[in-house]
């Protein structure tokens, strides 16, 4: 027992540490998506819906392959969602109503799996509301981490005077990143509900809802190393009552439903006769003889019906107004103003790959990636969007791509990353301080890393005014972020001309389209200033006439 709790704790701590490393802006993330790639359901559904197989999917394949050998050890020892659920079980368990053996309910998770498969066949992925690792990453990353950041800031503000007194500059000048996310209340309610379900039975999620659990259950029908009961069994039934997964037949404690067993070994610990053990079998005959009654499989009719429901909802999604189909053309109404991370694949592929785990959002150092609500339809729920007003998307940063387990945002070389245009800025002249209010501003020009904002003297305009050179603009959002106009900025990034590619070099594609995306080079005089015919001699920008 202690071994199991130790392993669970280590895995949870490791999971949180990897997520935390991604959240800390100073350090480069180390394998932030490792645990996500261990989740068999997440990987399988994504592979089917996006029609891709990545090397990164191997860990999940390993977990699944281990099923026939060691059973659902992943569920019992590694899965952070399982560990969290065990935690809430310890808190809420004592208040539990006595649960009836809900045998029939266990098939619900197979329904969930089949539903997901059905929609995945049609290229639509709903894995984001069911895959345990996607859910738990979102819970910790998008709900809990902002809370931790908030509390840490409070603590830091409280102890600042100490930094002054003790001359400790890490207190005086230390900074805790403020993390903010949209859709928090929804996620909070969702996870409270999921974790609160332990009131009904321990590991409610794992027993009845988890599609990855269903997948592992299918693989673990008769594992090599499994529960074995010796003749010493007195049929007291203690193991039946204490099994968190309800995997032991109530009237016959020697019989185990191996596909439900997560190898927690509680039964081993509490058996008064010490009659239970976990071990390998002796020969194929013993293996076959020990075959547990199959998972309470739903009638074939129900399987098919659920599969069709999945496919049906996929079809409904695909017929939504915001759904893009075929090649772009008239009548295609993409979501307005939706800016995707740099290196994101084309939208349909993006949605079928993105599992809404929130890793990219946690990893993003400027906190610009925010989960969207329903503005792009149900299929796009919780997917990430660049929000320049919250944070700019720095050309030298590609943390989102490094964090994405399904490569919905592609990892490319840093030199190619600079060419990954995510949109184009445009100036709302009637709001612009220079254009409309005749004030010296030009902050957009100051901060633009691509030198895409040019200032020019216009006829009779007392101050120089900004122009966006569209083919030099990468849509990074520095301008929108720093524009001093309240409350909506006078320069806005739209997803126009964003480069969304399945594969290949962004630079090549950009050049084909006539874009010149370069960070400001040195030495050359890139800003030309056409002389203003109204003034006798051209005056440098910002200077007055004598």
């Amino acid at each position: 027992m202690r071994l199991r709790r130790t392993v669970q704790l280590v895995c949870l701590v490791l999971f949180l540490a990897l997520l935390g490393l991604a959240a800390l802006s100073g350090t480069p993330a180390v394998m932030p998506d490792l645990f996500l790639r261990l989740d068999p359901g997440l990987v399988l559904i994504s592979a089917i819906s996006a029609r891709i197989v990545l090397l990164g999917f191997i860990p999940a394949a390993v977990v699944l392959i281990l099923g026939p050998f060691v059973g659902r050890v992943f569920c019992g020892y590694v899965c952070p969602m399982g560990t969290t659920i065990d935690g809430s079980d310890a808190l809420l368990g004592p208040h539990r109503k006595v649960s009836r053996a809900a045998n029939r309910l266990t098939r619900l998770k197979y329904m969930v799996l089949v539903f997901l498969l059905g929609s995945a066949m049609l290229g639509v992925s709903y894995v984001f509301f069911a895959a345990p690792l996607a859910l738990i990453t979102r819970a910790y990353g998008v709900v809990l981490f902002p809370v931790i950041s908030f509390l840490s800031r409070q603590v830091l503000d409280f102890i600042r005077p100490l930094g002054e007194m003790l001359d400790l500059s890490w207190i005086s000048f230390g900074e805790v990143r403020t993390i903010r996310f949209a859709s928090q209340f929804f996620l909070l309610f969702f996870f409270t509900a999921v974790l609160g379900l332990v009131i009904y039975s321990p590991r409610f999620w794992c027993r009845y809802l988890c599609p990855s659990g269903a997948l592992l259950a299918l693989a673990s029908r008769t594992p090599l190393i499994r529960r074995r009961v010796s003749q010493g069994c007195s049929r007291c039934g203690r193991c039946v009552r204490h099994c968190p997964m309800g995997a032991i037949a109530p009237d016959a404690p020697q019989i185990t439903k191996h596909s439900e067993c997560i190898v927690c070994r509680t039964c081993v610990q509490i058996c008064p006769e010490k009659a239970v053990s976990f071990g390998g079998s002796k020969g194929v005959a013993a293996l076959l003889a020990d075959r547990s009654p199959g998972p309470v499989s739903p009638a074939r009719r129900q399987f098919v019906a659920t599969g069709l429901m999945g496919a049906g909802s996929a079809v409904i999604s695909l017929t939504g107004l915001n759904s893009l189909y075929g090649t772009a053309g008239p009548g295609q109404v993409g979501a307005a103003g939706l800016i995707r991370p740099p290196g994101a694949v084309p939208e349909n592929d993006f949605l079928s790959r993105c599992v809404r785990c929130g890793e990219c959002m946690v990893a993003c150092p400027t906190n610009t990636l925010q989960p969207i609500g329903l503005k792009a339809g149900l299929t796009a729920l919780f997917s990430p969007a660049v929000t320049p007003r919250r944070g700019f998307c720095d050309p030298g940063c590609h943390e989102c791509a490094r964090a994405c387990p399904t490569q919905a945002v592609r990892r490319v070389d840093p030199s190619d990353r600079i060419w990954a245009k995510i949109g184009t800025a445009w100036i709302i002249r009637q709001k612009c301080l220079a254009w409309e209010f005749n004030k010296s501003c030009l902050v957009c020009d100051e901060v633009c890393p691509y030198d895409a904002v040019e200032f020019r003297r216009q006829n009779n305009h007392p101050v120089p005014v900004p122009h966006v050179i569209e083919n030099r603009c990468a849509g990074c959002g520095y301008c929108e972020h720093y524009c001093p106009v309240q409350n909506q900025p006078a320069i806005v990034v739209t997803p126009m001309d964003a480069l969304r590619m399945e594969s290949g070099s962004h630079e090549t594609e950009a050049r084909l389209k006539g874009f010149e995306l370069r960070l400001k080079p040195t030495g050359q005089e890139t800003s030309t200033m056409p002389p203003d015919p109204a003034t006798p001699r051209d005056i440098a920008p910002g200077f007055d006439v004598e």
């Binding site: 500059s169 000048f173 901060v447 001093p484 800003s527 440098a540 200077f543 007055d544």
Partner: protein, 309 residues
């Protein structure tokens, strides 16, 4: 009673005086050059970065006339952009480092080097070279102050437009403020020098654009009045400022003054901007600062000393 001087005594006395006078300028009895009378309003030195910085400050009275032992010093360089020194968008790291070293030599108790950066802070500090350069003389001097918790509200009594702002807490604790800007052009204000640079010590700068940028720069300078200004003209960003890219002219010049308006005015007049020269009064915030009595931009009225190394 009359003391009757014998011829021998007289000759001895004359000989001693003569010897004294002859050796006086050797530096043995009296200082070689008396700085007290020769301290200029503006010191200009040409040469290598470190030597020019030291020489320019010496010409206006030396660092000890600004920093006394036990004082707390705040140095404000330009390090807002994540660009390497050759772009001239940030102050040259050698100049910043030399100013910090001089403060250390003068016995400053604490030296902090701060800026509210535009680009990601860590990158600005490293790529500008200022972080690594200053690390070599003391640790933990250079910090970005991008978080609102580093600022406290103040009123600016002499302001016409910017009546209140949030200023860096360190400024309120410091005894001496030293501005170390790089000489660069600015698309909105003509140039960005010591007065414009003070925008890096407040939190909300956007309000200044919405009011009147030149007037509010002067308002800010009435509060954030530098005790010493060292303008880094080692390389001048002559066009395309404040972030570049633009024409970088190697001038190898450092300008120092106790009057920030004078320093800015001299830098405008001395260097070439967009291919020609301008008068200091053609930069509105310099003209306004002069008119409001913040300092003197009339270069003809000031004593300027030059040193060539």
């Amino acid at each position: 009673m009359n003391h009757h001087l014998s011829r021998r005594e007289f000759i001895k006395w004359q000989a001693k005086s003569g010897l004294f006078l002859a050796t006086a300028t050797s530096g043995f009895w009296l200082p070689k050059v008396s700085f007290a009378s020769a301290a200029a309003d503006i010191g200009v030195a040409t040469g290598a970065a470190e030597a020019a910085t030291r020489a320019a400050v010496d010409l206006i009275g030396g660092i000890r006339s600004v920093v006394q032992p036990g004082r707390r010093v705040l140095i404000k360089p330009n390090m807002s952009f994540s660009r390497a020194p050759e772009y001239a968008a940030n102050t040259h790291p050698e100049v910043v480092k030399t100013v910090a070293a001089m403060c250390q030599e003068a016995g400053a108790a604490k030296i902090t080097i701060l800026d509210h950066t535009l680009a990601p802070a860590k990158r600005c500090i490293e790529r500008s070279g200022i972080g690594p350069a200053c690390e070599t003389i003391a640790k933990n001097m250079v910090h970005p102050i991008n978080d609102p918790s580093f600022y406290a509200p103040v009123t600016i009594s002499k302001a016409k437009h910017l009546k209140t702002t949030d200023v860096a807490k360190e400024f309120l604790k410091a005894d001496v403020l030293i501005a170390v800007p790089v000489a660069k052009s600015h698309s909105a204000t003509g140039v960005s020098l010591s007065m414009k640079g003070m925008m890096g010590l407040i939190y909300d700068r956007s309000i200044m654009h919405r009011l009147d940028l030149h007037e509010t720069i002067v308002d800010l300078a009435t509060l954030l009045k530098a005790d010493l200004t060292v303008v880094d003209g080692t390389r001048v960003l002559s066009t395309g400022g404040p972030g570049g890219s633009g024409k970088v002219i190697t001038e190898n010049t450092v300008i120092a003054s106790r009057d920030m308006v004078a320093a800015d005015a001299f830098a405008v007049a001395k260097f070439e901007w967009y291919g020609r020269h301008y008068k200091p009064t053609q930069v509105r915030h310099i003209r306004l600062a002069h008119e409001r009595g913040l300092g003197c931009a009339a270069l003809d009225d000031l004593s300027i000393q030059t040193a060539r190394l």
